[in-house]
């Protein structure tokens, strides 16, 4: 009897401990968000969205950062998703399960843990200098797609792996070719998982500043980019700069920038989640 009580006690203690651990993360996040919102909201005026950065906190805006960041993520997705998905399909559906494939798979997993500044260096050497693309949006987006490529590949691989084998067999039984099976059965069933990868990539690409700094993104631009070869700036760079300034007001401005960054992040993620749910339903 006593033993049962003891076990039940242990059970509820662990329930409590794990609940507290969960709370730590949430509480810290809440404190951060409250602090940022308290400081940033007074600066979220209409001009903040339409102005260029300024040395006067009340005139400063973040428009070039917003435009730059949106351009970067759109292009990054356009580069990284087709390549990443293609790689995943090859590795999961076509490649023989030999040493070479294993080697490639291990390396892709390793790449996802590589510090992003390393990709920045690569981008500087290859895109900016060798290919002569300059300090352009194109260089930035290509570099950023290298950063997120492993995430796209790994999550797409997992999604493809999770497609039940009987679906494939059913398709083959109806006389479909391998390509038809992949296109009509595997990819549609794996799409929700692929979208998850896209969400993670977008979050990463939006928040990263190190690779963009390396490829030479500016902190101040006097004109908005008009094509992919234009110089650009991005939200994290603008926030980072404001954070480092001596005047207290600029730190509040940085908080306002963080709110904008979060809003863009949540919006893009919401769009992806809506798409994912749509596909999930259509499969079911």
């Amino acid at each position: 009897m006593n033993y049962v009580k003891y076990r039940k006690l242990k059970n509820s203690i662990f329930h409590g401990v794990i609940f507290c651990i969960t709370l730590i993360g949430i509480v810290i996040l809440a404190i951060l968000l409250i602090d940022i919102i308290k400081r940033g909201v007074p600066f979220l005026t209409r001009t903040f969205f339409t102005n260029f950065p300024s040395r006067f906190p009340n005139k400063a805006g973040i428009l070039p950062g917003i435009v730059g960041s949106i351009n970067i993520i759109l292009l990054t997705i356009a580069f990284a998703v087709p390549v990443g998905l293609g790689t995943a399909i090859y590795l999961e559906e076509y490649a023989k399960n030999n040493r070479m494939t294993k080697f490639i798979k291990i390396n892709i997993s390793n790449l996802s843990g590589t510090p992003s500044i390393v990709y920045g260096l690569l981008g500087l050497a290859v895109f900016v200098r060798t290919l002569g693309l300059g300090k352009s949006i194109l260089s930035g987006a290509l570099t950023m797609s290298l950063v997120v490529l492993p995430i796209v590949i790994v999550s797409s691989q997992e999604a493809i792996k999770a497609v039940p084998q009987y679906l494939r067999h059913g398709s083959y039984a109806l006389g479909a070719t391998k390509w038809q099976t992949i296109r009509k059965i595997v990819i549609p069933s794996a799409l929700p998982g692929i979208f998850t990868g896209v969400i993670l990539s977008v979050s990463r690409a939006l928040g990263e500043s190190a690779p963009l700094l390396m490829v030479g993104a500016a902190t101040y631009v006097s004109k908005l980019p008009d094509n992919v070869f234009s110089v650009f700036t991005a939200l994290p760079l603008q926030i980072y700069y404001w954070m480092g300034l001596p005047k207290e007001d600029f730190k509040d401005l940085a908080a306002a920038g963080i709110i904008v960054l979060l809003a863009i992040l949540l919006t893009t993620n919401a769009i992806t989640i809506v798409l994912r749910n749509k596909y999930q339903r259509s499969i079911e």
């Binding site: 339409t50 102005n51 260029f52 950065p53 300024s54 040395r55 428009l63 435009v67 949106i70 351009n71 759109l74 356009a78 300090k135 700094l213 030479g216 993104a217 500016a218 902190t219 101040y220 631009v221 006097s222 004109k223 908005l224 980019p225 008009d226 094509n227 234009s230 110089v231 700036t233 700069y241 954070m243 480092g244 300034l245 001596p246 005047k247 207290e248 730190k251």
Partner: protein, 325 residues
């Protein structure tokens, strides 16, 4: 069946393109509106000057960045057609790009080094060096520190030397308490670090390493403000903005203790920690009208703008103007 899939894809592609175009379009649209608005504010200034286009690429010191950005911000009203971009990868990083001919102007918080001059020469790059303002590196302690008001350069050297054995304030000066001395300073990539070590330890980049470094001067301010036994150094602007939290030390270089102020930094009596800030311009690029216009605008307005962002302007910019005639 096949066709409908194809159609779907084309639609998706078209949608994607349209989206990109909208982003770009609304971008340039606002830009035009912005430009014309600022034109209206400055019609007199803008109408006298010829309308220029083209690009100016600037990189370099994060210390000089606020001045250059302020100039770029004002220049935009004057010449909205010119695309100015200012990055800040540090004096060293900017110089690497400058001597490779990748940028037009380099912001620098120290003079160009011999090796950089050689690299520029090898690439056939000739440059113009312009002083734009002064900065005084300020040595600060906690507000509650009541035992020290001024410090000699020899004492600073004793504290910051590479093989320094100083652990407490008493180790530096027997009159000071035996409290542990906690040091804060900029990271080793910073021009401030390079200049301070050169002036105090007589060799650039040679410093003790057991201090709390940060590339972010605000972190240093917070560290020193929260620690009674702390000492650290950073640019004058950061002290000026945080005067209520910090106490600045007078520096004695053998000619009596001098406090860093706008006056003592400008007349260089705040020695040896008063330093000039520079811009370097690729001479060949000076032939491009937009670069020349920008540099002239820079020098014409450096006095007011550098003061606005927390630096000390030169007494007179006449000699500098001579250099770019």
């Amino acid at each position: 069946m096949r066709n409908s899939v194809l159609m779907k894809r084309i639609t998706a592609l078209a949608l994607g393109l349209a989206l990109t175009a909208t982003v770009a379009g609304c971008g340039s649209g606002t830009n035009d509106a912005e430009s014309s608005a600022s034109n209206a504010d400055n019609t007199s200034a803008a109408s006298t000057a010829e309308k220029l286009g083209g690009q100016i690429v600037i990189d370099g010191s994060s210390t000089v960045y606020p001045i250059t950005m302020a100039v770029a911000e004002e220049f935009k009203n004057e010449q909205p057609g010119v695309e100015v971009s200012v990055a800040m990868s540090g004096t060293g990083g900017g110089m690497k790009k400058f001597v490779a001919g990748e940028i037009d102007i380099c912001d620098a918080s120290r003079p160009i080094k011999q090796e950089e001059i050689d690299q520029a020469k090898a690439k056939g790059i000739d440059y113009v060096e312009l002083e734009v303002a002064y900065d005084g590196i300020s040595v600060v302690v906690n507000k509650d520190n009541n035992w020290v008001d001024s410090i000699t350069t020899a004492e600073l050297n004793k504290i910051w030397a590479k093989d320094s054995q100083v652990k407490t304030w008493k180790d530096v000066n027997p009159a000071w308490p035996a409290e542990p001395l906690k040091l804060y300073g900029p990271g080793t990539d910073s021009g401030t670090f390079e200049f301070f070590t050169e002036q105090i330890n007589k060799k650039a980049k040679e410093s003790r390493t057991d201090y709390t470094p940060s590339e972010d001067d605000n972190v240093l301010v917070q560290g020193i403000a929260g620690d009674k036994d702390a000492m650290g150094y950073f640019g004058f602007a950061y002290y000026e903005e945080n005067q209520d939290k910090l106490k600045v030390l007078k520096i004695d270089d053998g000619k009596g203790p001098i406090e860093p102020t706008a006056v003592s930094i400008k007349d260089k009596s705040y020695s040896p920690l008063s330093r000039p800030l520079f811009i370097y311009i690729n001479k060949a690029k000076m032939d491009q009208p937009q670069v020349r216009a920008f540099v002239e605008y820079y020098i014409d307005n450096a006095a007011t703008l550098s003061e606005e962002v927390g630096y000390v302007p030169l007494d007179s910019y006449d000699a500098i103007k001579e250099k770019i005639k």
